[in-house]
């Protein structure tokens, strides 16, 4: 989240801090997700989870350009968005474990984290299902003149859902402050999107009157810069935008998707992991610019690790909701 500028610091100091904050946040998501995978593997987590590992730069770069009061909607692969928007690790874990202390009192689970305090309208387990909600939030922002913008995160697979085009059209007609962020990780579950998407991805935004742009989703600096520009424009009333981020998920579609060779090669995965890891990409750049050194990184890693561990412990120890809570919250 953008913070107020401290005038006593030089520009590059400020910049360095901002990049390091993003570095830390990406790392936090990474370590969080590794922990989730571990919980699943040890059969400590109910259900499944869809890991965001490899895509951290998208959520972090975009959310860095947002205010806390700005809205987001998220997806089945949503932990990264929630954390990047400011969710607390402990309540995230608690929700994933179905505990009362979780963001949704255990009622939502991994795919439905929601949090009004950070503008998180909710992750959504219907592919493309939140496009209307995000657009509606932008509608409110416009009508209530709150100056908020709304970001709809979704995967390339969601481009298959007609709802998206219906709401893009209305967003453009009504100049709503909404940004549709497509995380193009090349796959919808177990199918490469060359088998599911015809035509041109960016054109799907511009055909409906949206400003459309492409960005390297593994380079958080590029994502942030592009997002920053778009967010500013959109906030000023320029109308909606469509941002496609080229990215890759390093792990399976969900934690149980282990043998993936029938739909993508190990070499492909290896290439992305070694050459296009967003954390490494930023780390290398920071090092090259002399903005951080090994010691600094080590410190960050240690801090993040301990925060995540504490959060897991909290969640593991937290109680389940009592069964008689099941009937609560059906109606407001």
């Amino acid at each position: 989240m953008t913070t107020a500028i401290d005038r006593s610091k030089t520009y590059s100091e400020i910049e360095a801090e901002q990049w390091l904050r993003m570095y830390r946040r990406m790392l936090m998501i990474r370590v969080f997700e590794e922990q989730v995978n571990d919980l699943y593997t040890r059969a400590l987590m109910p259900g499944l989870a869809h890991l965001y590992i490899g895509e951290e730069a998208v959520a972090v770069g975009v959310c860095e350009a947002l205010r806390q009061t700005d809205y987001i909607t998220s997806t089945h692969r949503g932990h990264g968005h929630c954390l990047a928007k400011g969710a607390a690790l402990d309540r995230m874990f608690a929700e994933l474990l179905g505990k009362e202390a979780g963001y949704c009192k255990g009622k939502g689970g991994s795919m439905h984290i929601a949090d009004p305090d950070t503008g998180n309208l909710g992750a959504n387990a219907i592919v493309g299902g939140s496009a209307g909600i995000a657009t509606g939030a932008a509608f409110s922002a416009r009508r209530l003149k709150t100056d908020q913008v709304s970001v709809c995160f979704f995967g390339d697979g969601a481009l298959g859902q007609g709802l998206l085009y219906e709401v893009m059209n209305m967003a453009a007609l009504w100049k709503l402050p909404v940004i549709y962020v497509c995380e193009n990780n090349l796959y919808n579950e177990y199918a490469h999107n060359s088998e599911t998407l015809a035509g041109d991805m960016l054109a799907r935004g511009s055909a409906f009157g949206l400003h459309a742009e492409n960005v390297d989703g593994q380079d958080v600096r590029a994502v942030y810069r592009t997002a920053r520009e778009i967010v500013d424009h959109v906030r000023q009333g320029a109308g909606p935008a469509f941002l496609v981020c080229q990215t890759y998920r390093f792990m399976g579609h969900h934690v149980g998707d282990i043998n993936r060779e029938y739909y993508r090669s190990k070499q492909e995965e290896q290439m992305w992991k070694t050459e296009r890891d967003p954390i490494k990409v930023l780390g290398d750049w920071l090092t090259a610019q002399n903005l951080a050194d090994r010691a600094r990184f080590d410190q960050i890693h240690a801090e993040v690790k301990s925060e995540v561990e504490k959060a897991v412990q909290f969640a593991m120890a937290a109680p389940y909701p009592s069964p008689d809570k099941v009937g609560q919250d059906v109606y407001a």
Binding site: Y103, G129, T135, A141, V167, M170
Partner: protein
């Protein structure tokens, strides 16, 4: 007794919307051809003049899309009223209504609310054929998180719609197309009608006819015909089918011991089934005969007048079934 005037059901709906829009600037309406056109049924005529095109908002033909936008707007401070021209088009909104609107509050552990109203029409006999004549309200009743309203008079329509708009949950409000011109007394003073309270439209002692929406008028007509045979029919309108006022329905059933349920939706797996079950269970030891259900025939609604007329309950068919029920025959 409050002062009243005669309004049509359409006028009552419009008045409810206008009052709520005046009262609360967060309320807006969206849908197809609702602004200058005032909807194809002319129910909203004039609203755009008072409230402008931002609050009486014409949309593209995108039922799923604008319903979804309403869900998001409702979560973030607005109070949308969505207009679905023909109730048949709710098919296009089921994901937004059922997987989103109905579940947001629960899935978020009570954090987000979705105070929206979907208004849709229902009802046949307009010679509009199979895709413009359905009464699909039963689907929504089946979904926890939603409330479902079926007004049968101008008075009820106004009071219930105002309640719906003030409710913090998604409410689906069905208006029978053929009833828009039905007239009835509506108080001059403001009023609302609580959900979950059935209304006894006509007191009686020999048979209970539970009826919804336009079927209330049909049941009242049938009740008149029954009078001539010295059969006193009580006509009860649940008004909201979810929440359902089971107590009043069961109470009446216990009193009369014979019950019919009439609804314009398909009889099979429809509203009549739930209400009949509730009564058959609740008044089991008092019933003299099985609860009789009458709904639409299990066919897509045909266009041709003699065919279409055969598919929906009528005064005559309700009267005959009631008479048979009271004479002990099945």
């Amino acid at each position: 007794m409050p002062e009243t005037r005669e309004l049509t059901l359409g006028e009552a709906v419009r008045e409810a919307l206008a009052e709520e829009m005046r009262r609360d600037s967060r309320v807006f309406i969206c849908g197809e051809d609702i602004a200058e056109a005032g909807t194809v049924f002319k129910v909203l005529t004039g609203l755009v003049d008072e409230f402008g095109k931002e609050r009486v908002l014409d949309t593209p033909i995108s039922e799923a899309g604008f319903t979804g936008i309403a869900v998001g707007a409702a979560m973030t401070g607005m109070r949308p009223v969505v207009d679905i021209m023909f109730g048949d088009f709710v098919t296009l909104t089921m994901d937004q209504m059922v997987n989103q609107a109905a579940k947001v509050h629960y899935m978020s552990g009570g954090k987000w609310k979705v105070p929206m109203v979907m208004r849709a029409t229902l009802g046949a006999t307009r010679r509009s054929a199979a895709q413009h004549s359905q009464s699909l309200h039963a689907w929504f009743c089946h979904v926890p998180g939603l409330k479902v309203v079926l007004p049968s008079t101008p008075y009820d329509a106004k009071g219930l719609l105002k309640t719906a708009i003030r409710d913090d949950n998604p409410v689906v409000f069905f208006e029978d197309k053929m009833m828009y011109r039905l007239k009835g007394p509506v108080p001059v003073e403001e009023y609302t009608i609580p959900f979950g309270v059935a209304d006894i439209k006509r007191a009686g002692s020999d048979i209970t006819i539970v009826a919804t929406s336009s079927m209330v008028q049909v049941a009242l007509g049938a009740a008149k015909l029954l009078e001539e045979f010295d059969i006193s029919a009580e006509v009860i309108d649940p008004r909201t089918v979810w929440p359902l006022d089971e107590k009043t329905l069961i109470g009446s059933a216990k009193k009369t011991s014979r019950v019919m349920v009439v609804d314009e939706g398909y009889e099979r797996y429809g509203v009549t089934a739930e209400i009949a079950s509730v009564i058959a269970e609740g008044a089991f030891y008092d019933l003299e005969a099985p609860v009789k259900r009458i709904g639409a025939m299990h066919v897509p609604i045909p266009f041709s007048p003699p065919l279409e007329d055969a598919t929906v309950p009528t005064e005559k068919s309700v009267f005959e079934a009631a008479k048979a029920l009271c004479s002990g025959g099945l």
